[in-house]
């Protein structure tokens, strides 16, 4: 059992992912952007963070940069469906420059999320 923070600006995606992750037997917290996520991480020990990269307030990359500074940081599973300016492949190439556990392109098969969580719990960050 792990504690997982889900960060996505889409409420339907957040709640859907939360239900799935809870079904897997993990505990879940939710945040709608990078700033909210960082606030949460400061006060709560978190094992895994599922992080959408393209978000309005602070985007995923900004959040990752801040998380790098934390002494104890969660394993990151980055997710993205691309944006008007950057398609998902570009985003994938960008985030792979950082120590993240996995990158998944939206729409994501929930089985892949489950697999990524298992992998992150077993091997930690890359």
């Amino acid at each position: 059992m792990a504690h997982i923070l889900i960060v996505d600006d889409g409420v339907h995606i957040r709640t859907m992912l939360a239900e799935y992750v809870e079904n897997l037997g993990h505990s879940v917290a939710l945040a709608e952007d990078g700033l909210e996520a960082l606030k949460y991480l400061a006060g709560h020990e978190t094992d895994i963070m599922i992080l959408d990269i393209i978000m309005p307030e602070q985007d995923g990359i900004g959040a990752i940069l801040e998380i790098m500074k934390l002494s104890k940081r969660p394993a990151i599973i980055a997710i993205s469906g691309g944006s008007r300016n950057f398609d998902a492949d570009f985003v994938e190439n960008l985030v792979k420059l950082f120590p993240i556990a996995s990158f998944l392109q939206k729409p994501i098969n929930l089985d892949d999320i489950g697999y990524a969580i298992d992998k992150a719990l077993t091997f930690g960050c890359k």
Binding site: Y20, L97, P107
Partner: protein, 685 residues
């Protein structure tokens, strides 16, 4: 004349008396009274007879004089010049017309020769011809240029005939007007013969009387084959009788017909021609011939078609790219919830058949989105800094191909540089789309004006135009037409994808959607102005970048991340970082040469010294440190900036924080690309 007659009469008497005195026989015998009487009678009768004869003679003489005077008047007032010449060319006599033509004065007669009035190059021609007249005593005619006393030239048609021994007469007609007309006809004929458009002249029945060489080139039918035939010999399969009826209706009623034919060449191949057919009328207004001007527009049509297709694809691609992100999120919600419900159903041993169908459909949707994205990635946004004026100038040529000759395109460019950041070819497409719409709004004759200007947007602007836009300096691209205008109701919808007012097949409805998308990406906006009196103007506002300075350039999101194929040297020994950063740099359109150590870096720098624009260097390398390599590089290529990457946990860290030319690992890709671009731009300056 009467005095002359009396004098003559006196002389006559004198001479008669002499005769009488000399007649000796007359005085030998004295005549009898009866003989006197008879002789007197005879004399009186004789005298009366003589008087009557004299009256008759006088009358005849007068008639002769009158006739002479009449002919002299005719001679003198004839519109043709008459000149009598001596054999050597001396002018003996000339009528009024000739006098006027040559500018003669009375003293010229018997003192000047005709050759003094002949154009220098034509004198030879004159001598040859006049010689022939003398030798063969024949009438001859020729044309030559003459020079009047005042120095003016004219063309004359000359008729020469011998008058009497040693004299001949010439007549002169001024044919300058005719010669000029002939010259004009000759020039026009050459123009028609050399014309790059095919030109046909037919009689009123439509049979070809003339065809220029271009016609033969275009159709494969030689002039000889074409003459006498009907242009219908070019008839392709697509032409409808209706089109021909319309054509004949139009030209028979004296109007000009214009249209496109899909015609057939002699070899059976098809081509598109644009034809303008007009009647040729006589002075009285009767149609005597038809004139057809034909242009092969096959290539133009295919270019237009290509352009249309490319624009359509680009627009679809842009839309796809724009919606893909949102679409993926929607698919994500459907897919995830379907999966969750499948799990729940499985737990309760319920059928998941319907949910499986949903899941499968979402997967198909996801793959469709991916393929749309692959399509739109074919034309990636190539953001670069450019002058809007240059773009308009470069687009003008192609833009003018989009419009007919009846529409003029005028450029009104600002006389200062208007730097903006965007994808050059997409902004060109903005111009083409706006010009195409302007063209379609104009029926017949009209004008399109493409302009640029600098505009400072203040609060007032937002208030007057009912739009909320950031204040600041904007480069404005405007396309204005004299067309039919846009109604308020339609104006609301013009930017909607697939909305079009054009006929089916004529417009995709994506043109303005694409314009909108491009302008949005550049963080600009569009103002449409269409006053009730007609004409429309589209003004595209995009943020102005002040001569490429960093702050302004970086203000445009993402723009400065990209390169233009500059060659970079990347020195890094850690393979994972080398791969990923190289990939990022490639995505951002830089060319990268990699080196894993200092020795390789220096070797590569030597080979590519002229092309190299920047090097990115890890501080710690197996054989030498980054600083040492940098020193070597500076001697090889003095003006190449170096960007250092320092390790996150380097013990002997030389640079402790991110500064102008160094970055700390982990590298934020956006930061990396920003630094690269900034160093490149400043080294260029």
């Amino acid at each position: 004349m009467a005095d002359n007659l009396i004098t003559n009469a006196g002389l006559l008497r004198q001479r008669a008396e002499t005769f009488v005195l000399a007649d000796e026989e007359f005085e030998r015998e004295i005549p009898t009274y009866d003989e006197w009487k008879e002789t007197l009678h005879e004399l009186r009768v004789h005298q009366i007879e003589l008087e009557m004869q004299n009256v008759e003679l006088l009358r005849t003489h007068k008639k002769l004089e009158e006739s002479q005077a009449r002919y002299f008047t005719l001679y003198n007032n004839a519109p043709i010049g008459y000149i009598t010449l001596r054999e050597d060319g001396l002018i003996l006599e000339s009528n009024i017309a000739a006098t006027a033509m040559l500018g003669l004065v009375k003293s010229d007669l018997h003192s000047k020769t005709i050759s003094q009035f002949i154009f220098r190059e034509d004198k030879d021609n004159y001598y040859l011809n006049s010689k022939k007249v003398f030798e063969e005593l024949n009438v001859d005619a020729w044309e030559m240029r003459m020079v009047s006393t005042d120095g003016s030239n004219f063309w004359a048609r000359v008729h020469a005939s011998p008058v009497c021994s040693g004299e001949y007469g010439i007549t002169l007609s001024n044919i300058t007007t005719r010669k000029q007309a002939e010259e004009t006809v000759r020039k026009l004929f050459t123009a028609v013969e050399q014309s790059p458009t095919a030109i046909l002249i037919t009689d009123t029945a439509g049979d070809i009387e003339y065809a220029n060489p271009r016609f033969a080139q275009m159709t494969g039918w030689s002039r000889e084959e074409a003459i006498g035939k009907n242009p219908r010999l070019l008839k392709g399969t697509v032409i409808t009788d209706e089109l021909y009826l319309n054509l004949w209706d139009t030209i028979c009623s004296g109007n000009v017909w214009e249209g496109d034919f899909h015609n057939k060449k002699k070899d059976g191949s098809f081509y598109w021609e644009h034809a303008t057919i007009s009647p040729i009328k006589s002075d009285s207004g009767t149609i005597t011939h038809y004139l057809a001007i034909k242009e092969d527009i096959t290539e133009k049509r295919s270019l237009e078609e290509q352009l249309r297709q490319a624009q359509k694809m680009e627009a679809v691609g842009q839309l796809a790219g724009g919606v893909a992100h949102d679409f993926n999120n929607i698919l994500q919600v459907i897919m995830g919830n379907a999966q969750l419900q499948i799990m729940t159903s499985q737990q309760h041993d319920l059928s998941t058949h319907h949910l499986d169908e949903i899941f499968n459909a979402v997967e198909r949707g996801a793959s469709l989105t991916r393929s749309m994205l692959v399509f739109c990635r074919k034309q990636p946004m190539e953001l670069k800094l450019f002058d809007l004026n240059k773009l308009v100038q470069e687009s003008q040529k192609l833009a003018s191909r989009l419009v007919t000759e009846e529409i003029s395109i005028e450029l009104k460019l600002a006389d200062l540089v208007l730097n903006v950041i965007g994808d050059f070819s997409m902004v060109q497409n903005v111009v083409f789309n706006l010009v195409t719409n302007a063209r379609d709004a104009i029926a017949g004759r009209g004008a399109i004006s493409i302009g640029t200007q600098l505009k400072r947007i203040t609060e007032d602007f937002s208030a007057t135009h009912g739009v909320s836009v950031p204040e600041g300096d904007y480069a404005v691209l405007s396309v204005q037409d004299t067309g039919c205008g846009i109604t308020e109701a339609i104006r609301k919808k013009i930017f909607d994808p697939f909305f079009t007012t054009k006929e089916v097949g004529k417009g995709t409805g994506l043109g303005l959607a694409m314009v909108y998308g491009t302008v949005q990406q550049m963080e600009g906006f569009i103002i449409v102005d269409s006053p009730p009196e007609g004409g429309t103007s589209f003004s595209v506002f995009v943020p102005l970048v002040e001569n490429g300075t960093d702050e302004n350039a970086e203000a445009v999101k993402g723009a400065v991340l990209f390169g233009q194929g500059e060659l970079l040297l990347f020195v890094e020994d850690e393979e994972a970082i080398l791969d990923s950063i190289t990939q990022i740099l490639n995505i951002a359109q830089y060319r990268v040469i990699c080196a894993a150590n200092g020795e390789a870096a220096i070797r590569i720098a030597k080979e590519h010294a002229s092309e190299l624009k920047l090097s990115i260097m890890d501080m710690i390398l197996p054989d030498m440190n980054g600083k040492e390599i940098a020193r070597e590089l500076t001697t090889l290529c003095p003006n190449i900036p170096v960007l250092f990457l320092s390790g996150y946990n380097d013990e002997n860290r030389v640079l402790t924080e991110n500064s102008g030319n160094s970055l700390q690992k982990p590298i934020h890709p956006v930061e990396l690309l920003k630094h690269v671009r900034r160093l490149l731009d400043s080294s260029l300056n």
